[in-house]
């Protein structure tokens, strides 16, 4: 019998030792209470919202939307997931399923998180003080406005999902699409609220967070899209009041002055290890090591840079020495044959170290296809293979706000605002030493606007404005459709002079832009699952 007791003992002991508890604490997540615990945790939560701005950065996502326009030519046909050329050169590349490479409907994932934050912050964060929490709320509004801005410029009106009646869930899945005007008003409202509460400046530790000037700057841009000229004018003026100022030392310095002391850059996405991007790796001249040279500025852009004295560039006049005597923005933005670069000279002539390869619709050309490279945003002397790139990506800067203002003034009432409009435009020109546009040159609104458009193209080149401006102005059909982009084929003569031949760089194809592209198709999945979405945009 003693064995039975032994067995019982073993069983009893093992049951006691057993501590199988089915109520385990998760070791891989944080509770809601912990997140709103302190200023530090709420700032960590807020930081997460900024990730949207990082992903929106064209440098970070390696999605230079200028490649969809006339000023920048992608070298890829079917590599690196780059579809710019297919978009431009294939008829009806876009379908009604979604907006393809322009798709921004996915922003709703971030918007949901922004809404969650905005819903909880006033109650759960109030113990941290009203001043503290209202700034974080303003930041969330700024970011949400940016997310909706990205969508509105693709689709026009979108479905407004916000936190005012709680988060939209399963029950609210069917919701009507707001009109384009309502959508812009929603964005404008967020930005106006944000601008009220955002600080003028952050401590250096937090440089890069949204400021009042950033909100006003973005407001001036959105107001142009909304065609609310009064608001655009007011927002631009408020931007200045909030401390925005051009960097006058040089145009190139705009992109190199540290953000903390950069009065012109109102909002930029900064990079530091490990959040880095590959701009140097992707876009450096092909003579550099292990690079892709994935996009080349076109002659359409390069030839638009004026001479330093303000006269237009012309091949017939300046063709023997095309790259001398141009305005400063040319040198700051373009690498051309003969430019000095990291102690060497760019050789984009045929057979040179950076020589042109004519583009064809296959694979990817890994050298310039136009004879030019971008210079803006490249970091000279950067060990990009080891460190990648940390150049900040300018999202909003004061020069743009001035050009927004000039445009808004002209649209508001050109004849009344002519003087201020010209002065505003000329502030941008004068900064790079170019003579101002005179009243005689800009006699009416249309001619003034053509100067504004030229100025935006060269001033804001590679900053992601051109394609969207062409759409906003409804000029994309006339500028893109049926056209081809151009480059220059440079041949080195035996006497070390060069011959320049204009070449077509679209592989013999012509570009396509249908007017329906101005407003892209609402994604099919939204239309199928949201019964109140209403009509799709025209043409889809």
């Amino acid at each position: 019998m003693k064995n039975v007791y032994l067995l019982m003992g073993v069983i009893a002991m093992s049951m006691m030792v057993s501590c199988t508890d089915l109520d385990l604490d998760a070791t891989d997540r944080v509770s809601g209470a912990a997140v709103w615990e302190s200023e530090e945790t709420v700032d960590a939560y807020t930081t997460g919202l900024y990730a949207h701005m990082r992903d929106a950065s064209e440098l970070y996502s390696n999605n230079l939307t200028d490649c969809f326009s006339d000023i920048l030519k992608s070298a890829s046909w079917d590599q690196y997931n780059h579809t710019y050329n297919k978009v431009l050169l294939q008829v009806d590349y876009f379908s009604s399923i979604n907006a393809g490479p322009l798709d921004k409907w996915g922003n709703y994932d971030r918007i949901k998180r922004q809404n969650e934050f905005l819903l909880d912050a006033p109650t759960k964060g109030i113990h941290l003080g009203d001043d503290f929490i209202k700034v974080r709320i303003a930041e969330a509004r700024f970011i949400r406005a940016f997310a909706y801005f990205e969508m509105a410029r693709v689709y026009g009106g979108v479905v407004i999902r916000d936190e005012t009646d709680g988060l939209d869930g399963r029950k609210e899945k069917d919701k009507a699409r707001a009109t384009e005007a309502e959508t812009w008003n929603f964005i404008i409202n967020d930005l106006q609220l944000a601008a009220q509460d955002l600080p003028v400046k952050w401590t250096s530790e937090w440089t890069g967070r949204a400021t009042q000037a950033a909100a006003y700057g973005l407001l001036s841009r959105c107001a142009l899209y909304a065609k609310n000229w009064d608001l655009a004018v007011e927002a631009a003026k408020n931007t200045k009041t909030a401390g925005a100022k051009l960097i006058t030392s040089s145009y190139a310095n705009v992109f190199t002055t540290p953000l903390e002391s950069n009065s012109e850059v109102l909002f930029a996405v900064s990079f530091a290890d490990p959040i880095v991007h590959g701009f140097d790796r992707y876009y450096r001249p092909s003579g550099d090591e292990d690079v892709y040279s994935a996009a080349s500025p076109t002659s359409e852009l390069v030839d638009s840079y004026e001479m330093a004295d303000g006269t237009p560039f012309s091949w017939s006049t300046h063709g023997t020495d095309p790259y001398s005597g141009r305005e400063p923005r040319f040198y700051a933005s373009i690498l051309y044959n003969g430019a000095s670069w990291e102690g060497r000279t760019i050789e984009s002539y045929a057979g040179g170290a950076d020589g042109l390869i004519e583009w064809k619709p296959a694979g990817a050309t890994t050298s310039t296809v136009t004879g030019y490279y971008m210079r803006k945003y490249l970091q000279e002397g950067n060990d990009y293979l080891k460190n990648q790139s940390t150049q900040f990506d300018v999202v909003i800067r004061y020069a743009e706000v001035l050009l927004n203002l000039a445009e808004a003034l002209a649209e508001q009432n050109f004849s009344l605002n002519k003087t201020t409009a010209l002065a505003t435009l000329n502030e941008v020109r004068n900064r790079v030493g170019l003579p101002g546009i005179t009243e005689a040159q800009a006699g009416d609104k249309d001619s003034f606007m053509s100067f504004v458009r030229h100025e935006r193209m060269v001033e804001l080149a590679f900053e992601g404005f051109r394609y969207w401006d062409l759409r906003r102005w409804r000029l994309a059909v006339s500028v893109i459709n049926g056209k081809t982009a151009h480059g220059v084929k440079i041949t080195k003569n035996p006497d070390h002079t060069f011959r320049y031949d204009k070449i077509d760089c679209d592989g013999g194809l012509t570009r396509y832009f249908d007017s329906k592209y101005y407003l892209m198709s609402i994604p099919e999945s939204e239309r199928l699952n949201n019964s109140l979405i209403g009509d799709n945009n025209p043409g889809w």
Partner: protein
Amino acid sequence: MKATIFIIVMSIAQVFAANSYSQTAKLSLNFKNVSAKTVLQRIEEQSQFYFIYDATVVNVEKKVSIESDKESISEILDQLFEGTNVIYKINNRQIALTTEPSLSVVQQPTIKVTGKVTDSSGAFLPGVTIIVKGSTHGTITDSDSKYSLSNVPGDAILLFSFVGMKTREVAVAGRTNIDVTLSDETVNIDEIVAVGYGTQKKKYVVGSVSQIGSKELVSAPMPNVSNMLTGKLPGVTSIQRSGLPGNDQTSINIRGISTFTNSSPLILVDGVERMLNTVNPADIENVSVLKDASTSAIYGVKGGNGVILITTKKGGEGKAKISYDASGTVSLNTAFPKFLNGPDYLYWYNKASEMDGLGLAFDADTQTKVIKGDPNGIYGNTDWTDLLFKDYGFTQQHNISATGGTDKTKYYVSAGILDQDGIINNVNYKRYNIRSNIDAAIADNFNLSLNLGGFYENRNWPGISMSPQVYMNPIEQAINAIPIIQPTYEGGYTGWSENGAIIQSPLASVENGGFQKMQRWQFEGSAKLEYDFSRISFLKGLKMGVFCSYDYANTANRNFLNSYKVMTYNKATKEMSMERASGTTEGGSYDKSMSLGYSYTLRPTIEYSRLFGKHNLNTILLLEENKSDGSTMTGRRSGYMFSDPIDITWGTTYPSGTVPVSGSLSHSSSRGYAGRVSYGFDNRYLAEFTFRYDGTYIFAPENRWGFFPSVALGWVISEEKFFKELNTGNINYLKIKASYGESGSNDIDPYLWTSSYGLTSSPSYVFGGNATTSVYTLNSIISDLTWSRVQSYNIGLDLNMWNGLLGMEFDYFYKVTSDILETQGGDMPLSLGGNYSSVANSGKVDNRGFELLLKHNNKINGDWNYSLVGSLAWAKNKVLSRQISEGTPWNRNEIGRSIGIIYGYEAIGLYQTQAQLDNSPAAPSGTKNLGDLIYKDVNGDGRIDQNDFVKIGRGTMPQLNFSLSMNTSYKNFYLNALWQGVALCDYQLSAAYSSGIYDNTAFTRPFYNNGNAPYYLVEDTWTAENTNAKYPRLSTIANGNNAWPSSWWVVDGSYLRLKNLQLGYSLPSSLLSRWNIGLSRLNVYVSGTNLLTFSNFKYVDPEMPSVNNGYYPQQKTYSMGLNVTF
């Protein structure tokens, strides 16, 4: 040999005593007026005795009454056959019955016959009964398997019988030396099969169970157990997607798939959830597969996809038997397409380039250099795939085991080594297994089983992953490499690039690309203490025990992606330059992860088994608790200065974009109460009830516990009197059975019911020049989740006819899996941003099918034996409910169709005329040219877009599996062949990559990725001269039009394979004993796997992964081996 059964019978023995079993076993019986046969059967069931008798001699139909209380077997037998001429002979557990010699038999001159009895593998069979037919005169073989029988009439017939073996009749015909080989009784209804938490005699099984023993399992040397199962267990589908050592296992599904989430079965090794493929195959006693819910419901929430039970070997009584097994295996690719050689590449590329209107891509000078040789050593004619693949891979396996023991203590100990070299350099897998299984009677009625096992595995791969879709995988690089340059240049490996962008070098990638090493140390231990209450008369049949296991594992992963440079040929500039290979970064990068974890199981059990007259009751009740904990840590550095040593310390920088150190903790727990009651009446009517009440930490407390019942019934018709009267003796055994049960599946992330913020694993944003980490919201809270529930119906039939000439097992099943946990949102607009329960118990799938097993076992004469086992299994599922987007076009609706069916365009031909081009809708992408694919505009809207997708193929999971096992032996030779195949499945040569991008592959577009092309492809592409082509237009340019998933690229995945072939020879035991070197068995064999394959697309293996640009191919093997037993 069937010592298998013998050992199991012993291991479930109730009493071990110092004296022999027959003297100590005490039996209690109480029968009135039943046949003597019934009494004998009850004794067999109640004890370990088994009877051998000739029913024509011994009258077992005689009605008897007997009452005994704890009497010995001889006392009972005396009582039973009192007053008859029946005599008995007891040899431990085996009892031979016969009659006194009849006086009427005319005495003939007699002789003395001696000889030896062995099994078909030559192993000794002590205790075989040899009886002169028609008499009681007989003897038993001794421990050396020898016998000697005097007074045998010269024309007598000897009966050789042994439990688990087919009884043989041998005519003496005047011989004095008769050696006999007994073969396994293939259709053996006394076979014992492993079922949930126990064993059952096969004749009492009412669920659906298949089992194979060690001999059928290890029919050819293979590196892991899952590969050995292919084709051997009806209802089990095995798919092997890769031949890469360390990753060449098969995925296993039982009865196809019944859910669109995880459909892997539960795998238990010695009753504990463990990895299948690290078990030493030589240690396995048997593999049992529980297919229906009546057998798997006892595993509750984990049993829904079926259960695989692996039982390791146990020791046996007797002096130590030491066995040594060794094999050497050579492996080769089963299939790999031949790629163009240099001159042919130039020819076809130029032709394609001309067709593209791009003129000749290679000039005559290049051609001359490739064909005639290049003084500069750049050009050449190189077969990259041939250089990448070695002549063969070599694998060796060694295993040594010792087994033996006394009636109190038995042991099985073993050690095994596997050393597997791949067909590509720097691919190697090694595994060392040890095991010690000990059973001991530590006190009266108190038994301890202690199973200790462990292994160390060491996997070594090149630094660049071999996974099929991984960027720059070395096999893809070999396919991409152009064959017109020398493999080496100035002593180093060459690379090439199209135009300086992507630099590939297949040989350097394997030789210089670093490594991916994995080491794992694992300990697996379990102990069971059991007390038998049989000594207490009113508790007779009661056993209580406690089982516990503790497994501990420690894994180290070390991955070094080396930076290497190669002399690179630039196809655009035609120059050589030293470049760093793409996909690598300066200084390389290295990460090391260490993980450790344990899991334990505690399982107290109560068993009660007893026979009351004709009522046979077997019950088990148990509690099971599991708990596991895991911890991992990973560190990374880059900037390695030295090529050796490589470890974290030696990196000089932290890699950008990643966190240098990370780690995680995890734990899990579950508890279940389970039980089974089996009841049999008179061996004719069988009933079984099973349940489990299971709880898991995964779900919210209110949804945590579930009840899983099952019930099964069986009717052994052959035991019915009326049947015996009708049956003329053709049918030996016939059973029909039916079952219903429920089990579950909990394949979902835990904690979804709690709240839910995460810290980003790497910084999210840069403020003030510093990257900052952030907090983000995880899922929305989902509190109503629970497991999915599988309801399963099974009906079946077991039949044995003509004493094994025909055996049949047939099962038909129907399963419904409901409440499948599935991702939600298909019907939700994106604008909600995912603010809804992301998973719900909402899917429903049914699955039906059958398994048919036919066996034929025969001997042609004393020397010739053969057996055939054929199986056919079919399973087809249908989605009954699944989340799909509202308004999904009818042609893409999965409801009512099978899981995983393939959708795409219906390709209706190649454009042959300009008129066709002009009158067809625009290409869905890319361009339309002569020779490109024409797609059907299914909805007739004049546009080819994804609304025109239709079903173009079945899924990759075969609906039909079949096999034919053919075994034959002649004297000491044996030849075994296993044919295996599948049908009713399809795979795609080209479709969506896992990234979601539609693109061609190297198997469907020549010069894919600017690389080389296989011969079959270019030779049958559309050209002006070959318009009746199998493949679209020859071109150097990618054309999106031909890259869509379409019926054109769907291949019927059916195949038939000679899966195993083994030819063996066992040295005659007479020879071994004459040598007198202590050998009791010596067996040599040659064998092979995947020797022949018949499929629809012969250039790649039919089990290849859909959509790949080169992967590590499945292997065919040729082995030689020997088994020695001392």
